[in-house]
């Protein structure tokens, strides 16, 4: 499962860090660091975090499948 935060939107409210501290972290007072990949054990927390973000900056993709046809086919 993957996520990305639109850090232009993000205003450092850190709501996501409170709710899913294993996936999101603050670096200093305001800069957000996120783990772009997380596992099933974090799913509920990430869902809470994404919903709680006051500026809806968190994009989550729960599909764990590698993208169909995305394997390198060189040649």
């Amino acid at each position: 499962m993957r996520l990305v935060v639109d850090l232009n939107r993000c205003q450092g409210y850190a709501q996501c860090v409170f709710l899913a501290p294993d996936v999101f972290a603050l670096h200093g007072d305001e800069a957000l660091l996120f783990s772009p990949r997380f596992d099933e054990a974090q799913r509920d927390r990430v869902e809470e975090a994404a919903a709680a973000c006051p500026v809806q900056a968190i994009l989550v993709d729960y599909s764990d499948e590698p993208t169909r046809g995305a394997e390198p086919h060189v040649g």
Partner: protein
């Protein structure tokens, strides 16, 4: 709408159970001047922009003489003003300091660590429903949890928690003047004194024997008076609001059986559902203590420097320009950027705690309790127009599962 009376109508108890038609009328004029020079702002983008506007102050001392200066001086309590009524840089320093033991970057797991404790409290409260066919959701469920939560945050020993419940009661009723005497005010005054005395003892103890909770952690960095003010702020800001949030969620679900049915089949719905309640029935309906530091042009109206400004969160949350079909309770709403916890630098300090409480309480309530319906709709409301919520929520129940 007759000019000059809108604030009176908002505070009029007759509109408490359903203030939304009034807010809809209010939105027709996004920025509205009251006769006394107060400005009410009620549409989403205008409220959001103002809340993020550095020309708007939360320090009511910026108002000209003659206007209410909420939070200043910190009245009878003799406590320093809490950071909700301050502007940067003071605001940011205080908030950062108090945040140190409370949240990231220094203590990112502090609240997460309370989840299990809060779950236990919820279980105990629900166990007590056993054998009943009728409960009051407010008294029996919503009310006790937030006080316990704040006691845990502060580090109040378990055996002292009952005293906090009594004080919280008294403080809440003073916020909620009932017709028939100021018995409540006196009680609240006494509660504040008792609580003050208790807290200074506790802080002293914590200073010598640090324990869990933020008071211990903050004791080395803050004066006892600042600490006491912080504890009172957290209790006042975090109690009634969260009670209302839990109660409003219950009420809204019981009013929307279709959503309730879905929720019971799919507990994951809790996440968007709780956010939608915060949009649909926000526990803090408006923020009436901001002040313009400069002339501010908003939606074609100039709010002159010094004017008191009320930001109508509950009206903005139902602005059709921002939310499609805003009067519909719809947990499937995408990008629900509601203003229930405000926005900008005064964004609710306790929002993560409130959410953790809501997530501990709501899914478990509806998993275990089989409801047969509301016994009174609308339920009786408290008088307070800002912290709006039912005083009681009597419901009939059919049973309880383990």
């Amino acid at each position: 709408m007759t000019p000059g009376t809108i604030t009176a109508q908002i505070t009029d108890y007759a509109n408490r159970a359903d203030p939304y038609p009034l807010y809809a009328e209010l939105r027709e004029q996004p920025v509205r001047r009251e006769d006394d020079g107060t400005y009410l702002v009620s549409t989403y983008y205008e409220v959001r922009n103002l809340a993020n506007d550095p020309r708007l102050s939360n320090d009511t001392r910026n108002r000209p003489p003659g206007y209410a200066r909420v939070g200043h001086p910190a009245e009878e309590t003799g406590l320093p003003p809490s950071f909700i009524f301050t502007d940067p840089p003071v605001h940011d320093r205080l908030r950062d300091t108090i945040n140190r033991p409370f949240g990231p970057p220094h203590s990112p797991r502090f609240l997460d660590g309370l989840r299990a404790d809060l779950a236990t409290v919820v279980t105990e409260l629900l166990d007590a429903f056993e054998g009943k066919d009728q409960v009051d959701i407010v008294e029996d469920f919503s009310y006790p949890l937030p006080v316990t939560a704040i006691c845990k945050v502060l580090g109040v020993p378990r055996e002292d928690e009952p005293r906090f419940h009594i004080w919280a009661d008294a403080l809440a009723s003073s916020l909620d003047p009932r017709p028939g005497g100021d018995d409540g005010q006196e009680k609240a005054q006494r509660a504040r004194q008792d609580m003050g005395a208790y807290l200074s003892d506790l802080i002293e103890t914590k200073r010598r024997h640090p324990g869990p909770g933020i008071l211990s952690a903050l004791a080395p960095d803050m004066t006892p008076a600042d600490l006491e003010a912080t504890a009172v702020l957290l209790l006042v800001a975090g109690h009634e609001t969260t009670v209302n949030a839990i109660t409003n969620t219950t009420l809204t679900l019981l009013r929307h059986p279709d959503v309730l049915e879905r929720f019971q089949k799919d507990p994951d719905l809790a996440v968007p559902l709780i956010e939608e309640v915060l949009r649909f029935e926000p526990p803090v309906q408006f923020v009436p203590w901001t002040t313009a530091l400069a002339d501010i042009d908003v939606a074609g109206t100039t709010i002159p420097k010094g004017s008191p400004v009320w930001l109508m969160l509950a009206a903005a949350n139902r602005d059709p320009k921002r939310f499609e079909d805003p009067d519909r309770f719809d947990p499937d709403r995408k990008d629900n950027e509601h203003l229930g916890f405000y926005t900008g630098i005064h964004y609710c300090f306790g929002a993560p705690l409130a959410r953790i409480e809501l997530h501990a309480a709501v899914p478990e309530l509806f998993r275990r309790v089989k409801f047969s319906g509301l016994l009174e709709d609308p339920p009786p409301y408290r008088t307070n127009a800002v912290l709006r919520g039912p005083r009681h929520l009597p419901v009939a129940i059919e049973g309880l599962t383990a």
